[in-house]
């Protein structure tokens, strides 16, 4: 294979990876701050895709407005879920919070998916494209305008999120809670407010991913499973709760996938990515950039 072909594969991988990174950052954020291993992430992706579909296809608004609608709606749904489900659990649960919260997200995923199924039916809804046309990146590679737009949206959002966490007051508060919950409470951070805001933010990222990928993945009740699994690969690869690592990991998984797709054909990319991931995790359980995972023998 020629060098230009390899470059093409890497570029395709980067395009895929941007969106995985976007989803994975949401997962890492909610795990880092609230210790919730989010299994319902894909369902927020699905809601985002549906909202964008109704915005773009039914109301016929500009795609950017449709995306913004998706982000706002998913944010609100996320906050409602946090207030109605995790708040009562936090009040009642004393031990085994991580496992209980994880199982709870499984239940949430089940409910949201079936609400979509009952309400909108199992049919695929989608649009063919937000913006028509292709953009040629290298002489041998043409990428549809939508994919470019999706990648740009992902990168812009990640940079914006980074700035937000770095330099605003509430962003700093979120990072403080992620580092030490008790310490954050001591300096006067309202924990409850940080929790609902973070959860909403994390789900909004998933919703944005669903909205921008609508032409590629369509919208149907179980559309979120695949992206959710992929973002979990990313999070486990780099270490749970590492937000900056999740960005890098997204691109790694994207490139791995595009290569295995090219060399082995469809269907195998899951097996290849998972095998590599499992091998890495067996030797370095904390992931590539993660903090140390505690073993049973440690204190």
């Amino acid at each position: 294979m020629q060098l230009s072909g390899l470059v093409d594969l890497v570029i395709i991988g980067l395009f895929r990876g941007g969106l995985y990174a976007l989803m994975a950052v949401g997962l890492a954020l909610v795990f880092g701050v609230m210790n919730i291993a989010q299994f319902a992430h894909g369902e927020f992706y699905m809601i985002g895709a549906y909202v964008a579909f109704f915005g773009a296809a039914m109301l016929g608004v500009n795609p950017l407005i449709a995306w913004a609608m998706a982000v706002v709606v998913v944010f609100v749904v996320g906050v409602l879920v946090e207030r109605s489900v995790f708040l009562p659990l936090r009040i009642r649960s004393h031990e085994g919070w991580v496992m209980n919260a994880f199982l709870l997200t499984v239940g949430i995923s089940f409910v949201i998916q079936n609400i979509a199924l009952a309400w909108l039916g199992p049919s695929y809804r989608g649009i063919t494209e937000y913006w028509p046309g292709n953009i040629s990146i290298t002489p041998t590679l043409n990428v549809s305008a939508d994919r470019v737009a999706a990648a740009v949206a992902a990168i812009v959002t990640i940079v914006a999120l980074w700035l937000f966490l770095k330099s605003t007051r509430i962003g700093r508060a979120i990072r403080a809670v992620a580092q030490d919950e008790r310490g954050a409470t001591l300096v006067g951070i309202n924990l409850s407010r940080i929790h609902w805001f973070t959860f909403g933010l994390s789900t909004a990222l998933a919703g944005l991913a669903g909205a921008v990928l609508l032409p590629m993945t369509q919208a149907y009740p179980s559309v979120g499973f695949k992206p959710m699994v992929l973002s979990w690969y990313v999070v486990m690869l780099v270490g749970m709760g590492s937000i900056s690592g999740a960005v890098v990991g997204g691109f790694i998984i994207g490139i791995l996938e595009s290569f295995s797709y090219y060399y082995l054909g469809g269907g195998w990319q899951d097996v290849v990515v998972l095998s590599i991931l499992i091998l890495i995790l067996l030797f370095k359980p904390s992931g590539l950039f993660g903090a140390e995972v505690k073993g049973i023998w440690e204190r």
């Binding site: 496992m99 199982l103 089940f110 009952a118 979990w232 998972l274 049973i296």
Partner: protein, 340 residues
């Protein structure tokens, strides 16, 4: 001299009776529970139609799976999120042996259990050294990888087209299958009951409750965690073999995370760490859902909300409700006795 503390020593010839008695006490079936099990056992005498019996068989199978699932989540507090994949390993082992080598599914029952247990053991050894959610997510990933492997190896497993598996019997009488799964269920219940009521069960609970304290009292956590995990996985494989040779067709979809979630829901609604709760909720939930079929997807929403409410507000599940009713009746009776 023979009498110590006024108790006469047991005569040697009665020792076996004592043993039976003490192991019976260890098993701890209440009379009502025993009656229920016997009633389920003789139910084919009353249920004559095929549809009803089929429902009974499915309830027994799901109930057995829920009990095996509960052994991990209810006792050591680690969720086996690849449970459906272990069911699939058992099923595909027996099915491929039967299809390619002509080995009867009866032998498959043993081999499928062993293979699923072996894979579970290896996974447990590799992942259970680490704390928290790690083992659950790894089991999930391994389950997903196995499902994709089965899906893409079309030459061996026929992939999504489905593998046609020889049945246990040539005839399709439901009653024959009922009396395969019924002993499996009873066996599972007895084994798990004995296990969890022995010192192993105590160790499981200790590890699940507070790892530090368990270690301080001299429990080797890895040993018990792996043991628990292996037993649960081999039981999953056993029910998988039954699944394969009962339905006669296997698709990779049976290993999907969705199936794990369904078992999880049944086990949770029954009550965590109770074992028979899973069986009880299988016998309640599955027939109710068959009955409510007209509601379509709305029944799943109700189900899910019910699951969430159970998780947050009532971790005791159905078993908790049963005990609450029993206690209230007792209190009512004692109050009446006092009054008269």
């Amino acid at each position: 001299m023979n009498e110590i503390n006024g108790r006469s020593p047991t005569a040697p010839k009665n020792r076996w009776l004592d043993k039976v008695q003490s192991s019976w006490r260890l098993l701890g079936f209440s009379p009502i529970g025993l009656l229920m099990l016997v009633l389920i056992g003789i139910s084919p005498l009353f249920i004559k139609n095929d549809y009803g019996l089929r429902l009974m068989v499915v309830c027994l199978m799901i109930g057995t799976q829920a009990m095996a699932f509960d052994l991990t989540i209810g006792f050591i507090n680690v969720v086996n999120f690849g449970f459906a994949a272990f069911v699939g390993i058992g099923a595909y082992t027996s099915a491929l042996l039967a299809v390619d080598l002509g080995i009867s599914p009866w032998i498959g029952l043993i081999l499928g259990t062993l293979v699923a247990g072996l894979v579970g053991f290896l996974l447990g050894v590799l992942t259970l050294r680490l704390r928290g959610i790690y083992a659950a997510i790894m089991a999930w990933f391994v389950g997903l990888a196995l499902m994709s492997l089965v899906t893409v190896n079309v030459g061996i497993t026929r992939g999504p087209l489905g593998l046609v598996v020889p049945l246990f019997y040539d005839r399709a009488d439901q009653i024959l299958y009922f009396y395969i799964i019924y002993p499996i269920m009873i066996g599972t219940l007895v084994v798990l009951r004995l296990l969890t009521r022995s010192h192993f069960g105590l160790a499981f609970r200790a590890i699940g409750g507070n790892l530090g304290a368990a270690r301080a009292s001299g429990i080797n956590p890895v040993k018990y965690l792996v043991m628990n995990w292996t037993i649960a996985c081999s039981l999953a494989g056993l029910t998988g073999v039954f699944y394969a040779s009962y339905f006669g067709i296997l698709t990779p979809a049976m290993m999907h995370t969705k199936q794990t979630v369904e078992i999880l829901a049944i086990a949770y609604i029954g009550g965590r760490g109770t074992l028979w709760g899973g069986l009880l909720s299988a016998f309640l939930v599955i027939p109710i859902f068959e009955y409510l079929r007209g509601l379509l997807a709305y029944r799943w929403i109700i189900y899910g909300i019910f699951l969430i409410i159970t998780m947050i507000f009532y971790p005791g599940g159905l078993v908790g409700v049963v005990f609450w009713i029993g206690n209230s009746i007792k209190r009512l009776l004692s109050r009446r006795n006092k009054g008269s």
